[in-house]
């Protein structure tokens, strides 16, 4: 195998594996659900996309013909990742409005109260909300 192609595939594999690992580290380290939603849906998808590009280059280089299986998986992942993230965020918001999960810490309460429905629960938060809108 040519040294240049091998180095290119190796670099793509390292980038992809590093982003995949970073996504899962963020899933463990971040504080509440709405912050944890970012890393798996962005960093992990990017990492798997890079790994799939590396695999496509590898199989197009070693086997006869152009390998397009990986592009199929990559396109499917890139389409479905935002949809599933949106549905999970919606499910978490529904659970929080029904009061089935504990309220998130104060910083995220102030950050996520675009609807204004949560500000009725806390008196201290209402002033900040009014100051923001007015």
């Amino acid at each position: 195998m040519d040294l240049l192609m091998e180095s290119l595939i190796a670099v793509l594999i390292l980038i992809g594996a590093a982003f995949t690992c970073l996504g899962s580290i963020g899933l463990v380290r971040l504080r509440d659900f709405y912050e944890r939603l970012h890393t798996p849906t962005k960093a992990t998808t990017l990492g798997v996309g890079s790994l799939l590009i590396a695999s496509a280059i590898f199989f197009s280089w070693t086997m006869p013909g152009i390998s397009l299986h990986e592009v199929l998986v990559a396109v499917f992942l890139f389409i479905t990742a935002p949809v599933s993230a949106h549905l999970m965020a919606k499910a978490a918001l529904h659970l929080r409005e029904r009061g089935e999960t504990g309220l998130p810490p104060e910083t995220t309460l102030q950050r996520h109260d675009g609807s204004g429905r949560l500000s009725e629960d806390k008196d201290g938060n209402q002033d900040g909300n009014a100051a923001d809108s007015g």
Partner: protein, 98 residues
């Protein structure tokens, strides 16, 4: 190690580091799946576990130099998406098919 595959030294070491990192990612998301305080956390961890498994299968395909596991990766992607949508719908509505 290079008797089965024809990959060179650079690619083999990159594959080993990749296997290590992706396995660490699988273990971290498994930890979140077990520990995760709420139900949406567990769904998110399961979705991450699917994507990490796809990455592991892709690395294994490059390592073995055979396109044997791409159908498995595609099926995991498909059913992982369906499972995530079904679980999120169940948490939102209390029912999957209305």
């Amino acid at each position: 190690m290079s008797d089965l595959t024809e990959t060179g030294l650079i690619l083999n070491s990159a594959l080993m580091i990749g296997f290590l990192l992706v396995t660490a990612a699988v273990l971290l998301s498994l930890w979140r799946l077990i520990v995760g305080p709420d139900k949406p956390d567990r769904i998110l961890a399961l979705d991450t576990l699917y994507v990490n498994t796809i990455a592991l299968l892709v690395l294994l395909d490059i390592k073995l130099a055979s396109s044997l596991y791409f159908e498995a990766a595609l099926l995991i992607a498909l059913f992982g998406f369906v499972g995530t949508v079904a679980l999120a719908k169940f948490l939102t509505r209390g029912d999957i098919i209305e």
